[in-house]
Amino acid sequence: MNTNQPEGLAHEIAVPKKEDYHGHPNYLIIYISLLILFAITVFASLIPNPLVVFIIVFVISIVKGSMVLLYFMHLKWEPVLIWILLGLALMTLLFLTLGLYPDIVSVKPYLVTKP
């Protein structure tokens, strides 16, 4: 029987390949990395310039989100179809942003204060 055995679990019940086609990174290392990035995010927020804070925390959020996607959700080992699905969601977001941007920037604050 073909099996994939994550290290340290060889004594347990063998896993059929079709149920376990993805890799098993060291989840503890990923978790600790996420905590370190989280700590950096919190400390970065102490910088007095909001735009700089925004850029730093947004970039770190993208890195953290990608780590969860790639390693905890095993996206790294998924076929291209799953990547296309997520790509479509991102494209929807891009079109939404492009569509909404003119509306949001063109609304004058007085229109909001005096509806």
Binding site: Y21, Y27, Y31, T41, S45, F58, F72
Partner: protein, 198 residues
């Protein structure tokens, strides 16, 4: 060790969950994009953000990150049909979910007490219409996220109970776990945007 599979071999449940997750990313992403564009436009939103409880948000972020680790350990145990470990990791995740919701409720209680509500009646009376929009976004995004936390926790509970009772369908732990990780990713973006950028 891992094996590459083709798209035809993707387990149906996992494919369906990924499709759902893609939709969820579009929904939450849309909210985040709109929030960000408005936040960059209205400086007074920064003042409103100062009224959020950063300590509570920080603890909640730690709780969700930790719960994601617990879920992936539950998935690992489920692959080996280790009933006891599956139970242990899922129960730890559920405790994290309850803790998250408890802390969020505490935050809501104090914010509402200070007049920061979804309709923003008090702020509107003061003529602060732009500031009211901040709290509308705040409650919509965090409230919708909270509902997903509840949904994810219930899904994890039921698949865990079914798998451990019947000794089958352990793969559902991973599928429900994918949903839980999605909830975590959404919070990874919400936390700094809402709490940290003043």
């Amino acid at each position: 060790m891992n094996t590459k599979i083709t798209w035809r071999e993707i387990p149906q449940a996992r494919l369906a969950m990924w499709a759902l997750i893609a939709g969820e990313f579009a929904i939450f992403g849309g909210l985040i994009v709109m929030y960000t564009l408005n936040r960059l436009k209205y400086e007074s939103w920064g003042e409103m953000a100062q009224h959020t409880n950063v300590i509570a948000g920080t603890i909640n972020t730690l709780v969700l990150l930790t719960s994601s680790f617990f879920v992936v350990k539950a998935h690992e145990a489920a692959l080996h049909k280790n009933k006891e470990k599956v139970k242990m990791w899922i129960w730890l995740t559920l405790i994290c979910a309850l803790l998250f919701l408890g802390i969020k409720s505490y935050e809501y209680y104090h914010e509402i007490l200070h007049g920061f509500t979804l309709p923003g009646t008090q702020l509107l009376a003061e003529g602060k219409h732009v500031e009211t929009m901040y709290w509308s976004f705040y409650y919509t995004m965090t409230g919708l996220h909270g509902l997903h936390v509840i949904g994810g926790a219930l899904a994890l509970f039921f698949v865990m109970r079914h798998a451990t009772k019947t000794e089958k369908d352990y793969h559902r732990i991973e599928v429900a776990g994918l949903y839980w990780h999605m909830v975590d990713i959404v919070w990874i973006f919400l936390f700094p945007l809402i709490y940290l950028i003043h």
